[in-house]
């Protein structure tokens, strides 16, 4: 708490300035700027080891010495503020001597094993030793060795986590890793032990370094003390090329660099391509190690077609011909449009748009959607939910807020970047964070208060905030209008009771919303996945109106996937918003007549034989649709199913034609992040087998149907740009919406609420193909609270049966403090267990019971 000054951020507001002399030139900077940053701003490079632009200042390495006239001793520029009239030298004799001494001290016990060190070639110490070191050290004693005792055989490398390897001898004790872990990620699994020159960084006793951001530590380490297993001893860094790309898993679109070797056609690692507006230089482990998915040996290498009930390898020509033939046949037989499509929102703009055109223009249907894991979606657009999703949102806006409220979002798992942003806001600013979740999440670490409500009562919870504001007179009473008539229950106390929350906590949030000058308020997947999403969104619209949040709040329901926003804007919804629809029908000269059908409705209609042909691109509904039986029945009932994917999955197993889909690393593409920012990936790998990007597949299918999609790629991309330029923001409703409480039935037999979602090291169904990520977590588990475990007599790691009215699975238990006693969490990322067989499509809250498996 004491070190809450963020000297690393140059203050941009109009503050008083200071003028001083830096290496003979006059420099003017805002008051409070350190000499180091002032020097950087005019292109003077001062060497550093412990300083890091995103972390608090340690001032311990002493590399950044400068000489200041009239000062009795050398000053460290990272921590010394520039003052009027100062005369500073960054490269005087005294400074160079001081730095040389630091390098000599630092190298004293350093093993100098550069030839076998993976950091070689990109090591700060190596560079600085080159610049300031002497070729003959005056240190003529044996070097201190960590772990060099009889009992400790871990002489050099200690594997401290699933991916991270620690070499204490190379460590220069800059404490960057400790600071990053604590400040940026809020993790405490790494610590400092011993003292003096025996000081060592190590993993906390009994822990492993497996937090969801652990990979970043290898990047903040300026030397080879922290490296990751996946990169070690594979290639020298100077033999790689870098390709800029973005994260294909999360909706914020972290900027990454892929390190590749073209001859070997291989990606060796991913690092951050620091973008202060988006990722702030931090990557989640899923983003960092996810590239391995593209290089998995399990990739689909050739098309498969079903012959006599068996899938056999085929050529693209055969496969495409078959697709063309079957699609034509089906349409002719039924005499109407009975073909649909599901294109995942992890695909790039070109793919999404091409399939959109294929379905709408060529096939002539509105049966198109990008959502795999949302149940009971509304058939129309423009409701409260769409209004919220369409609102502008900015990631840096989080840091400009004085009040941050989240609803129904397990942030670390869904939006790791935004979680780190909120942490940063809390570390460096006066911000109040309130999280509202149906179970305790890691947001508790950053929130002033994490409000845990009864699952499925989100809309009542939001109502209660509104009611408290009216009852306590926190808002102008004229704003309240007829709200009280639109919502039930009609008192805050009753609502709070239904949600099982403390009215005082509701009051605190209401007060923060009433007083906040700049508010960020967003909902996450727990709202998105809820069948009640429309009511929750309506309640949020009411809240927005009641508190008069326009102009002082960014409110949104954040999308989940890398290109969810692109999908919405490019018209991948069965019923796109009006502006988009108008644009598209203008471009395509008309709009299909057919009824718009969501994934959900299409599946229901497959059973009724009203949808006969279905094309899936990059999605796995059998594994992820929240009702496995329903999805399986639906897809099995099809006449023709085409699936394009990277791997063989549960869904491809049912397909008549399976096409190998190129991964994001194998072609260049554009993605729209949750802010609406269009970002580019570049080709990093050549597909050495015959996988093709989605847009190419769409074009080939269109060719088979004898209606080419676009003249060429350029016209396609120009059209995409045009469509993306359409403002699809929907206006806030101009009246209060009705939000009434509907009681949920609770079956006493199944007392525990089940939440499914992503593991903190996985995202979707692809990441289990990354070796590094499976090193963190390879199989599903059920997360339960210590109290529940005790009550049921279960230990960590025990096998338990998780049963719902419709299914059961057996998984090991993981005891966690980030969950409530009446809630269990099961990750959906692992194909080994049929987690979605526990879920029913129509239930508002999924409920289960668990019991220990006795062998």
């Amino acid at each position: 708490m004491a070190e809450k000054t963020d000297k690393n951020t140059v203050v941009v507001e109009k503050t008083p300035t200071v003028t001083f002399t830096l290496d003979g030139r006059e420099v003017t900077v805002p008051k409070g700027t350190t000499i180091l940053l002032a020097a950087q701003s005019v292109g003077i490079d001062i060497p550093t080891l412990c300083w890091h632009p995103k972390l608090t200042i340690a001032g311990s390495c002493r590399m950044c010495y400068v000489e200041i006239e009239k000062w009795p001793k050398l000053a460290i520029s990272c921590a010394t503020e520039a003052m009027d009239g100062m005369v500073v030298y960054t490269d005087s004799d005294l400074v160079r001597k001081g730095r040389a001494a630091v390098i000599q001290f630092t190298l004293m016990n350093h093993p100098l094993d550069c030839p076998t060190c993976d950091k070689g070639g990109e090591c700060t110490l190596q560079d600085l030793a080159f610049a300031y070191g002497v070729d003959n050290s005056e240190f003529d004693f044996g070097k201190h060795r960590f772990g060099a005792t009889e009992n400790d055989t871990t002489f050099d490398d200690v594997v401290v986590g699933p991916e991270i390897v620690l070499n204490r001898n190379r460590c220069i004790r800059c404490y960057r890793c400790i600071r990053a872990n604590k400040e940026a990620f809020g993790e405490f699994d790494l610590g400092v032990f011993e003292r003096g020159n025996h000081t060592e960084i190590n993993v906390a006793p009994g822990r492993r370094l497996d937090n969801p951001f652990s990979g970043n530590l290898t990047e903040v380490c300026p030397v080879g003390a922290l490296t990751h297993l996946d990169w070690r001893y594979k290639i020298r860094v100077w033999l790689t090329d870098t390709t800029s790309s973005i994260c294909p898993f999360y909706s914020s679109g972290s900027n990454i660099l892929l390190y590749t070797n073209q001859q070997q056609n291989k990606i060796y690692r991913a690092t951050s391509r620091v973008n202060d507006d988006i990722d702030d230089g931090w990557l989640s482990d899923t983003t960092r190690f996810g590239y391995q998915v593209a290089m998995s040996p399990d990739r689909l290498k050739m098309p498969l077609i079903k012959k006599d009930g068996k899938q056999v390898e085929a050529t693209w020509e055969e496969a495409l011909k078959l697709i063309g033939k079957r699609l034509t046949e089906i349409t002719e037989k039924k005499g109407r449009v009975c073909i649909g499509g599901l294109v995942a929102s992890s695909q790039d703009n070109a793919t999404l748009f091409s399939f959109s055109k294929l379905l709408r223009k060529v096939v002539g249907s509105n049966n198109i959607d990008f959502r795999t894991d949302y149940r009971m979606l509304p058939q129309t657009s423009g409701g409260a939910y769409d209004v919220l999703c369409s609102q502008p949102f900015s990631i840096v806006g989080i840091n400009q807020s004085d009040v941050i409220v989240t609803l129904g979002s397990d942030l670390v798992k869904e939006h790791p970047n935004e979680y780190l942003r909120i942490r940063k806001a809390v570390n460096f600013g006066a911000v109040s964070v309130y999280a509202m979740n149906p179970y305790r999440t890691k947001s508790s670490d950053v929130a002033k208060k994490e409000l845990v409500y009864q699952a499925g009562t989100e809309e009542i919870l939001i109502n209660s905030i509104c009611l408290v504001a009216i009852e306590d007179g926190l808002i102008d009473s004229s704003l309240a209008g007829n709200l009280a008539e639109c919502i039930s229950p009609s008192t805050a106390a009753e609502s709070a009771e239904l949600c099982e929350v403390n009215l005082e906590d509701i009051r605190a949030i209401a007060r923060a919303l009433a007083d906040g000058r700049q508010i960020t308020f967003f909902a996450g997947e727990i709202v998105g996945r809820s069948i009640n999403r429309e009511a929750i969104a309506a309640a949020l619209c009411n809240l927005h109106r009641l508190f008069g949040l326009s102009g002082r709040c960014q409110m949104n329901i954040l999308p989940r996937h890398a290109n969810s926003c692109g999908a919405v804007q490019l018209g991948l919804l069965p019923a796109p918003v009006l502006a988009t629809k108008d644009m598209l029908s203008k471009l395509w000269g008309g709009w299909p007549e057919s009824e718009p059908q969501t994934t959900d409705r299409m599946m229901a209609n497959m059973k009724k034989d009203e949808i006969d042909g279905y094309m899936i691109v990059g999605a796995n509904p059998i594994m992820l649709y929240p009702d496995r039986e329903f999805a399986t029945d639906a897809l099995e009932g099809l006449d023709f199913l085409m699936v394009a994917d990277l791997f063989e999955t549960e869904t491809t197993a049912l397909a008549d034609v399976v096409l190998p889909l190129a991964s994001w690393a194998e072609y260049s593409g554009e993605y729209v992040n949750l802010e609406g920012r269009v970002q580019k990936t570049h080709q990093a790998l050549k597909t050495d087998y015959d996988a093709r990007p989605g847009y190419e597949i769409a074009a080939l299918i269109a060719q088979q149907l004898e209606q080419p999609l676009f003249e060429n790629d350029q016209t396609r991309d120009e059209t995409i740009t045009k469509v993306l330029a359409v403002d699809s923001t929907l206006p806030w409703p101009d009246e209060f919406l009705e939000v009434k409480h509907v009681a949920d039935e609770v079956d006493e037999e199944y007392p525990l609420v089940l939440f499914v979602g992503d593991d903190s090291h996985h995202s979707g169904y692809l990441t289990e193909k990354s070796n590094s990520l499976t090193n963190f977590q390879a199989e599903p588990y059920v997360e339960i609270s210590p109290t529940l475990a005790k009550r049921l007599g279960i230990d960590d790691g025990d096998s338990v049966r998780v049963e719902s009215p419709v299914g059961k699975i057996v998984v090991p238990v993981r005891i966690s403090h980030h969950i409530n006693n009446d809630v269990v969490f099961v990750p959906m990322n692992f194909s080994g267990k049929q987690v979605n067989s526990l879920i029913m499509r129509k239930s508002r809250v999924d409920r289960v019971r668990i019991s220990k498996v006795v062998d």
Binding site: Y175, V192, N197
Partner: protein, 448 residues
């Protein structure tokens, strides 16, 4: 671990004197009891503070008294208190620094063990002066007995209404926490100490911000030495003007000197500042001369971190200014005496071992430099010194001095630099002949 230190004091002299207030009752075994302490006039200053004085008046009185920090730096206490930002809405904290660990220094221990209420009273008055309602005493981890005594005294003070809510009906609340350290010398440095209390690793923080602005839990914090605070009640009782008459013009008051080493009567002696160092060593009232009537080799006057004085330099007044002009420091007042049969290199091996062990590991120069120095100095001591080693030591010292966040680095190298400057021939002999010029005969008087 309870252990009462049977150290010799000049309490009898203090009891008769009017001007040595700290030691007046330290030989009274009942002094740790609050009733005895009160019977001896204790807690009157505290009552007077609460009932008659404003915080500004308290600060003014202490400023007027010229009381300077007894922990080593000698910064005026009243001025330090004045640094607490006016009108800050944050809580303020007072920390009594009882992490006395400088080799040779054992003055605070006597006060903690034998007159704990004087410390509590001083802390209370200082707290009032800075508007602090929760004060800490950070007691060195090894001082188990002192901590026990302090906790018992604190319990008594609460019971008697000297601490707690609405003290003496004046509407002032004050709570106290006894915090024991984990055994790190560096935690005697005020910012490392605040980290330690917060439960962090005891590493020094960068200044600015100074603790008076942002210290414990980011709030304004004043850290004062035990002896400094124990002097405060006397200043309140008798006035700054009286206190000013003690000592010299710029170094007012009395100070406890911990005399150790090759003297006949090692002990803690309360003297007026400005007392003659030679008298302290040789007077039968105090040191009683060198054991075995040997000749004096040198003196460390202010704790192991201060430069040595040679025999021709010891006719010097023990005050902040005089010692500074003699090229050394008053420091914590720990006078360590060495006689002629002590090898300077041997002395330094002991000191550097301590500082290498206590370096916290944060700043590169201190972390690596102290380890290197220890290797070099041990090599010389063991007869393996190489030509150029002395220059190497000096150069390493220069690269540590003034190059670290906290003063531990400076403390480590100051005695080394001085030892080389004063006895360079001995170092050179060691290197040239592989053995001591004067062989160390390690005999100490009882009580060391």
């Amino acid at each position: 671990m309870s252990f009462y230190s049977p150290v010799r004091t000049n309490a009898q002299e203090a009891a008769k004197s009017d001007s040595l207030p700290l030691f007046r009752f330290v030989e009274d075994p009942e002094q740790t009891k609050i009733d005895t302490y009160e019977a001896h006039g204790g807690y009157q200053a505290w009552r007077k503070t609460l009932t008659e004085m404003t915080p500004e008046q308290v600060v003014g009185e202490v400023k007027n008294a010229g009381l300077r920090g007894r922990g080593g730096a000698g910064f005026p206490a009243g001025v330090k208190w004045g640094f607490v930002p006016k009108g800050s809405t944050k809580p303020k904290y007072l920390i009594c620094n009882a992490d006395e660990s400088e080799p040779g220094t054992c003055k605070d221990r006597v006060l903690l063990e034998r007159d704990p209420h004087a410390v509590i009273e001083g802390m209370a008055i200082a707290s009032y002066a800075i508007d602090c309602h929760l004060m800490f005493i950070y007691i060195r981890g090894e001082f188990g007995y002192a901590a026990d005594v302090m906790r018992a005294a604190m319990a008594e003070a609460y019971k008697k209404g000297q601490l707690g809510k609405n003290i003496h009906g004046g509407g002032y609340d004050l709570d106290m926490i006894v915090h024991t350290g984990g055994g790190a010398y560096v935690c005697g440095e005020e910012t490392a100490q605040t980290n330690s209390i917060e439960g962090r690793r005891g590493n020094a923080r960068m200044k600015p911000p100074f603790p008076a602005v942002a210290g414990l839990y980011g709030c304004p914090t004043i850290v004062n030495n035990v002896e400094t605070l124990a002097s405060v009640p006397h200043i309140i009782n008798r006035g700054g003007d009286w206190y000013k008459t003690l000592g010299t013009e710029k170094s007012t008051g009395s100070k406890i000197f911990s005399l150790s080493g090759h003297v006949r009567q090692p002990g803690n002696y309360e003297l007026l500042l400005g007392h003659n160092l030679k008298d302290l060593i040789y007077s039968p009232k105090y040191g009683g001369g060198i054991i075995g009537d040997k000749k004096l080799k040198g003196v460390i006057p202010g704790g192991s971190s201060t430069p040595f004085l040679k025999p021709d330099q010891i006719d010097v007044s023990l005050d902040y200014e005089s010692l500074a002009s003699a090229g050394t420091m008053l420091g914590s007042g720990a006078v360590i005496v060495f006689h002629e049969e002590t090898c300077i290199v041997w002395i330094i091996t002991k000191l550097i071992r301590f500082y290498r062990h206590e370096s916290c590991g944060k700043c590169t120069p201190c972390r690596e430099g102290t380890a290197w120095l220890e290797l070099l100095i041990n090599r010389i001591e063991q007869g393996g010194g190489k030509p150029g080693d002395i220059e190497k030591i000096e150069s390493i010292c220069d690269n540590i001095m003034g190059r670290t966040v906290c003063p531990l680095g400076d403390a480590a190298v100051m005695p080394i630099k001085s030892a080389i400057a004063q006895w360079r021939d001995e170092w050179q002999y060691h290197i040239d002949h592989g053995k001591c010029l004067v062989e160390t005969k390690c005999e100490l008087a009882p009580g060391n």
